[in-house]
């Protein structure tokens, strides 16, 4: 016979203002097997926990029900308390009377009645609980970082410095990401390449870091501490170990007509190319779609000029398999192409550019060697109009609902840099709100206005059209309350940023949840900002939400700390709430194995004693690998013969809860 204690928490006024906690305790005390019931202001506080511990000891409780907040919040807290008192931690059940009751109801009588029902269900369940012992699993002391931008590089360096091996998988031929494309960085205006390239070199040379560039994650299996990942290393058609990075092949390539991705398509590259001068690794890659050798079988110039004999047209993709304890998502972002905003003329007029294109036009390594020349005719622009929030903060189907966060600051940066180099240029900026919170950010923006005389116009642009060789920008000046039309030589659109396109498929592979905008979701918006809800998966940089470089680097470091914390452990306590199969009921149909997302179910042929002259027969039955099972329960609802059951959430326990609710 069980002896059950029920503890009803007020959660200050969070629960007690809507639920009559005394009435809940009173009602619970009348339930079968309940020998003790009480309420307390903060059950999770130290004195609250002591109250539970004392009651377990004093009343020899065999089961505990806490009526409080969601188990996601404090289940672990209360399990630990029970353990301290000598009770198996899995003999604790939580009735969620906060998120699922007090917070969503207004009427006290109704909420109280519901809280009593929820408590009754938990009491019914705990009577069927069995003590469970968590198993242990080994931790593979190796970290995978997906994405080699500043976020991935920083996380990798921090983890590597702590002594753990790290692999970076980057889909592009070089690490560096978007930061490598930036000219200067706000608000200090130090050159992005100057501060980034030392980090890239460090990552490339670090004894604990392995780079897999031009590679993609193909398949992920396993769980925290024990991931197995297949990585496709795409064929560069250049042998990494032989290439010296001299670049002769890229100079001699006759197919120099490919849009150069690094310069946002503003100039051309060859079919064999190194993305940019400071690329790490500095090994070229052949774009087989563009290469004459692959298209016609003729050419082969790169192979002829290569003194190292590094060109290998026969090279094939390679799949490598590696085990990891932790995975960091650092997949970054892209800037949208504002083609849907036909009124702004991005598709029609070459001198309407995005801010990232403008960034390349300003950069010394860019298509114009750092001279600001407009794309249409190569002339220096004298009147430039910047349009902010293109595709951000909108409600229509064309827009992102969120603020892209970095545009206000980089537009101020563009304005300042342009005015610095070309003081006779007039600059106008259309804005909705100037958002410049951050250290030295507002001062920076004010410099643009006060010191450089940039003309900030509060309002939005409705149309950009060409007239007499000028780009006419028609917009509203909300402060002057008038419609204005400016004649410009160039228009720069601060187009919205969005998560990288590969994020979604990776999210599916890793069961890492995403929001509606395809940004990865953190385990807790405030308290666990760098962890994915999927254990062992961490988030770094823009893939979690818009942020600037300092914020990205901080988050990258925080993700590294979490990884290090995990990899320092030799063993992880598993979740004992796993599936198990009743061999006597299992008919070997394989349906459970098919739905198992973790590959935890295998089949064995087993001999069973049977009545009759044969005495034994061999049957095929399911076996669950408890170290791999994550307790999702998919098999238990699929099994047609109810052989599969989940420890801690058995079919009987769930039915008894339902019965208690329906009583």
């Amino acid at each position: 016979m069980h002896k059950i204690g029920v503890f009803v928490c007020w959660c200050g006024s969070n629960i007690a203002a809507t639920v009559d906690v005394k009435a809940v305790a009173e009602a619970a005390s009348k339930e079968p097997c309940v020998v003790y019931a009480t309420d307390y202001q903060y059950m999770c506080s130290e004195s609250g926990q002591n109250l539970i511990i004392d009651a377990i000891k004093e009343h020899n409780l065999t089961g505990v029900v806490i009526c409080s907040c969601s188990p996601r919040m404090h289940e672990t807290t209360f399990r630990k308390a029970a353990q301290k008192a000598g009770l198996n931690p899995y003999m604790v059940e939580i009735a969620n009377i906060r998120e699922q009751c007090s917070w969503i109801h207004k009427d006290m009588a109704e909420a109280t009645a519901k809280a009593i029902v929820l408590a009754r269900a938990a009491i019914a369940k705990v009577q069927l609980n069995k003590p469970l012992i968590a198993g242990e699993s080994e931790v593979t002391k190796r970290c995978l970082v997906i994405g080699g931008g500043i976020a991935g590089i920083q996380t990798a360096l921090d983890v590597a410095e702590a002594g753990f091996p790290v692999d970076i998988v980057e889909k592009k031929p070089t690490i560096g990401g978007k930061m490598a494309q930036l000219d200067k960085t706000f608000p200090t205006l130090d050159c992005a390449a100057c501060i980034l390239t030392p980090r890239m070199v460090e990552a490339g040379a670090h004894e604990n870091i392995t780079l897999h560039t031009y590679s993609e994650v193909e398949e992920v299996s396993g769980f925290v501490g024990n991931f197995t990942v297949k990585i496709r290393k795409k064929a560069r058609k250049v042998k990494m170990d032989l290439c010296t990075g001299c670049g002769l092949c890229t100079e001699k390539c006759p197919m120099k007509k490919q849009p150069n991705e690094f310069n946002m398509g503003l100039d051309k590259r060859g079919a064999i190319y190194i993305p940019f001068a400071q690329a790490v690794p500095k090994v070229p890659v052949i774009d087989v779609e563009a290469c004459l050798k692959f298209k016609t079988g003729k050419c082969g110039i790169c192979s002829k000029v290569c003194t190292a004999g590094a060109i290998d047209y026969e090279q094939q993709d390679e799949i490598i398999e590696q085990k990891y304890g932790a995975i960091v998502l650092a997949t970054g972002f892209d800037q949208i192409k504002p083609t849907k905003f036909g009124e702004l003329g991005y598709s029609q007029y070459p001198d309407v550019v995005t801010s990232l294109e403008y960034e390349r036009l300003m950069n010394a390594a860019g298509p114009t060697k750092g001279h600001l020349l407009r794309p249409s005719d190569g002339k220096p622009p004298k009147e430039i109009v910047f349009v902010q929030c293109v595709g951000s903060r909108g409600q229509s189907c064309r827009d992102k609902s969120y603020c892209s966060k970095v545009c206000c600051m980089y537009t101020a940066k563009h304005a300042i840099l342009t005015k610095d180099h070309y003081p006779d240029t007039n600059i106008h900026v259309f804005y909705i709100d100037e958002r410049t919170p951050g250290k030295n950010f507002d001062e920076f923006y004010r410099r643009a206005v006060e010191q450089y005389g940039v003309d900030y116009i509060k309002g939005q642009v409705g149309k950009v059209y060409e007239e007499n060789g000028k780009l006419m920008v028609q917009g509203s000046d909300l402060l002057a309350n008038e419609q204005i039309t400016l004649a410009a030589d160039m228009v720069v659109l601060a187009a919205a940023i969005e998560p990288d396109k590969t994020a979604r498929s990776l999210g599916t592979m890793l069961t890492a949840s995403m929001d509606t905008n395809d940004f990865f979701t953190e385990a807790h918006a405030k308290l666990r900002p760098v962890e994915s809800p999927t254990a062992g998966v961490f988030l770094s940089g823009m893939c979690q939400g818009p942020k600037d470089i300092p914020e990205t680097v901080s988050q990258a470091g925080a993700a590294a700390v979490k990884v290090i914390g995990l990899l320092t452990k030799d063993k992880l306590l598993g979740n004992p709430c796993v599936a198990h199969s009743d061999e006597m009921l299992c008919n070997g149909c394989s349906q459970c194995a098919r739905v198992c997302p973790y590959g935890a179910i295998t089949y064995v042929d087993k001999e069973f004693r049977v009545p009759g002259p044969k005495r034994v027969e061999t049957r095929r039955v399911a076996v669950v690998n408890e170290a791999v099972c994550q307790g999702c329960g998919a098999c238990t609802v699929t099994c047609p013969s109810t052989a599969m059951d989940l420890k801690g959430f058995s079919n009987r326990q769930i039915m008894s809860e339902v019965d208690a609710i329906c009583k």
């Binding site: 905003f341 036909g342 009124e343 598709s347 189907c397 059209y465 007239e467 006419m472």
Partner: protein, 260 residues
Amino acid sequence: MVYSYYPGCTLKTKAKDLDMYARKSAEALGITLEEIPEWQCCGGVYPQAQDEIATKLSSVRTLNSAKEAGNDLVTVCSACHHVLKRVNDDMANNEYIRTRANNYMELEEPYAGETKVLHYLELLRDVVGFDELKKKVVNPLKGKKIAAYYGCLLLRPSGVMGLDDPEDPSIMEDFIKALGATPVVYPFRNECCGGYVTLQDQSLAQKKSNKVLGSAEAQGAEMVITACPLCMYNLKNNGTEHDLPVVYFTEILAEALGVK
């Protein structure tokens, strides 16, 4: 090919050309337009108010007539097309409006947006096909530089109209090409002509219409075509600074097909 046809009031009075040439051209293209019997005014302007049901009813009657005839519904006036498509969208997707409109109508079978509404230009593009149309042209308008004027009602709201990209459309330019003429693309082709504001403040409509015609003229247009009687009115009467001929698109169609 048989279609239910909704001309609308203006096409019986001020915009007879738009209607006449549409019918003649359809005949030449082997399309039968069956005018809906006893049709009523579409309402002229789409009523934005959610609780305004009565003004939507005449459109619902038209849509339901086409449904009962078992035909898709073709219309040619920009404004009628706009109102009919939006009301049809309401009947298909807005339960509140659908229920109330049907309560008024007391039809044998409630109407729920079953009719497909086509603008005459959509008929040419999606049913006839511009390549086919090109083959049927007997009198190609060679060398003629024609500017298409879309106005605002034809394309917007684009989600409901589904006709073309509202900011960078091409349907009328493709139509002009099919007739053998040269389309002139100009920035103000999808801007407002001033619309009904001419009744309140004519100078404003003049400003808007002049901007449109000036923009077309600057790009070398010799003629402007429209699908909207109200645009036609404004461009002709309020485009005071320019002398560019404005005709209905059906007129040049009839000319090219040799039925004018």
